[in-house]
Symmetry: C2
Subunit: 261 residues, 2 copies
C-alpha cells in the first residue's frame, strides 16, 4: 500500500479516504485478505481512528469489506446473486434445493396491522411460519410467512399426515400451502436494519442493513399469504430474472455525463 498523505481537498477526509481505499483494495488486495489494523491505517493516513472508521463504514455498507472483531478487516467476496423472483423461489414444495429451513411457527390472532396487510378481520387466526434461507450453507435471509387460517380452510384436507407433520406446525402449514393455487404475486423491496432476533438468525450484529422483501401471494381474489423476508444487504444481490440471461458483473463507474438538453 502506497499513499502516506491525504491531499488537502474540499471534500471530507473520510470520503477521500474511502476513495483511496477503494483504489487500493481493487488494485492490491483480493478476497479474504486482511487489511492492516485500524490503528495502523489511521496512523498511515494521518487521521484519527474515528475518521478512518467512518471510511471503513462506507466500504462495509457497500459490501467491499467485512470486519470481524478480534480478527481484522477482510476484503469481502463479491455479492451472491439470490433469486427471489418467480413464486417457485419462496413458495413451499417447489424449490428442489433445500434453500429454506423452518425455525418456528406460531398461530395467533392477527394484530390490527397484520390483519390489514392480509385483508382479513383483526383478531382472526393467522399462522406465521418463520424460516431461514440458506445459500451455500450461510444464512442469507429470514422470512416471516403469514397465512390466514381462512386461506387454509378453503383447501382440501391434507391426507395421510405423518407423525412428523403432526408434531411440527410449521411443516404442516407449509404442506397445506403446497395445495394452494397462486394466481399472482406482488412484491416490494426496501432498505431496513435487522433488529435483535433477526440479526442473530443472520449471524450479524443488530443494525445490520438488510433488504426487506415483502411479497403478497394472491389466490381466489384474496391475499393467500404475505411473506416478509430480510436479506443481508452486505452479501446479497437480489435477482428477479424472468428470462435468465447472461450473468452481469455490474458496471462500477458510470459514464461521464455529456451536455444535455
Amino acid at each position: 500500500m502506497g499513499q502516506n498523505q491525504l491531499a488537502a481537498v474540499p471534500e471530507p477526509k473520510y470520503w477521500h479516504l474511502r476513495t483511496v481505499l477503494v483504489r487500493t483494495i481493487d488494485q492490491e488486495f483480493s478476497t479474504g485478505q486482511v487489511l492492516p489494523n485500524e490503528r495502523e491505517l489511521a496512523a498511515r493516513f494521518g487521521v484519527a481512528r474515528a475518521t478512518l472508521r467512518q471510511a471503513l463504514d462506507q466500504l462495509e455498507l457497500e459490501g467491499r469489506l467485512v470486519r470481524r472483531r478480534g480478527i481484522g478487516t477482510l476484503i469481502a467476496a463479491p455479492r451472491v446473486g439470490v433469486p427471489v423472483s418467480r413464486r417457485e423461489e419462496g413458495w413451499p414444495g417447489v424449490s428442489r434445493s433445500q434453500a429454506w429451513r423452518e425455525v418456528g411457527c406460531v398461530s395467533a390472532p392477527a394484530t390490527p396491522q397484520l390483519a390489514q396487510a392480509l385483508g382479513v378481520e383483526a383478531g382472526s387466526l393467522v399462522h406465521t411460519v418463520r424460516r431461514i434461507r440458506l445459500v451455500q450453507g450461510q444464512a442469507m435471509a429470514t422470512e416471516s410467512l403469514h397465512v390466514p387460517d381462512a386461506a387454509l380452510r378453503a383447501l382440501p384436507r391434507v391426507v395421510g399426515r405423518s407423525a412428523q407433520t403432526e408434531a411440527d406446525p410449521a411443516r404442516l402449514v407449509l404442506r397445506q400451502l403446497e395445495r394452494l393455487v397462486i394466481e399472482g404475486e406482488s412484491r416490494s423491496v426496501e432498505l431496513g436494519v435487522a433488529e435483535a432476533e433477526e440479526a442473530s438468525l443472520l449471524e450479524r450484529p443488530p443494525g445490520t442493513p438488510v433488504l426487506v422483501v415483502t411479497t403478497q401471494y394472491a389466490g381466489a381474489g384474496k391475499i393467500a399469504a404475505l411473506s416478509v423476508s430480510t436479506y443481508r444487504a452486505d452479501t446479497c444481490k437480489l435477482t428477479f430474472g424472468e428470462t435468465g440471461l447472461v450473468e452481469v458483473t455490474p458496471v462500477q463507474e458510470p459514464q461521464p455525463v455529456g451536455a444535455a438538453s
Copy 2:
C-alpha cells in the same frame, strides 16, 4: 418526550437509544416535525453527542428521520412506492407519466467491463443515456441506459426526424429504442452508495445509500440494452407488482419465534 435515563443493559447504548427513539417518534411525533437538537437530546439521555448521532444514523438509514444541516432533524415521510417492474416503467415511449428526464448522452467505445456486461466486443460503440426519475417532482433515481449501437443499427430507420431530435442525442437514442422489440428482462437489486455525481443528481450528500437496480433488456437473443439505476434508499420502496393488489403497510415487528424442529 419522557425518559431522561438509560437503563444499564448489556446492549450498546446507541442501540438502546435507537429503540427508545423509535418508540418516542412513533408515539409523540408525526411527519415533518423537528426533533430537539442533537446537543440537547444527548444531554437529555446522558450520552455524548457522538453516541446519540450513532443512534440517529441508524434511524436515518431506516428512512425514519431526515437530517438537514442548519435546520434540524425531521421525522421523515413514509417511503414512496416506486414501480420498477414491467418494462413499461423504464422503457422509453411507454410511460404516460413524464417520469424520466434526460440529462445527458454520450456515445463512446465500450470499456471492457461494459462490453462484457452487454455481450459485445470491447471497443464497439455504445450509447449511454443518462436520466433522472422524478416522483412527485423529486429526483428519486438516476439511470444510465447503455445501448449497443449494433442493437440500433438493426432497426428500421427513424423517419421524419425533427430538428429537435437531431440536436438532442439522448432523445434520438430513446426514440429509436421505442421501435426495439423487447423479448424479456432480467433484473437485480443490491445496496450501494451514491458517489459524487450521482449524489448531486439525487440532491444528497456523497455516501447516500441507494438501491442499485440493474436491468438487462433482451431482444433478438442478445442484450438490447442495459440499465443501471440508483434509487434513493431513504425515500424509495421499489415495487415489482405484476398483479396490483392491496396496498401494504409493512408489518413492523415480526412475530415471536416459537419452538422449532
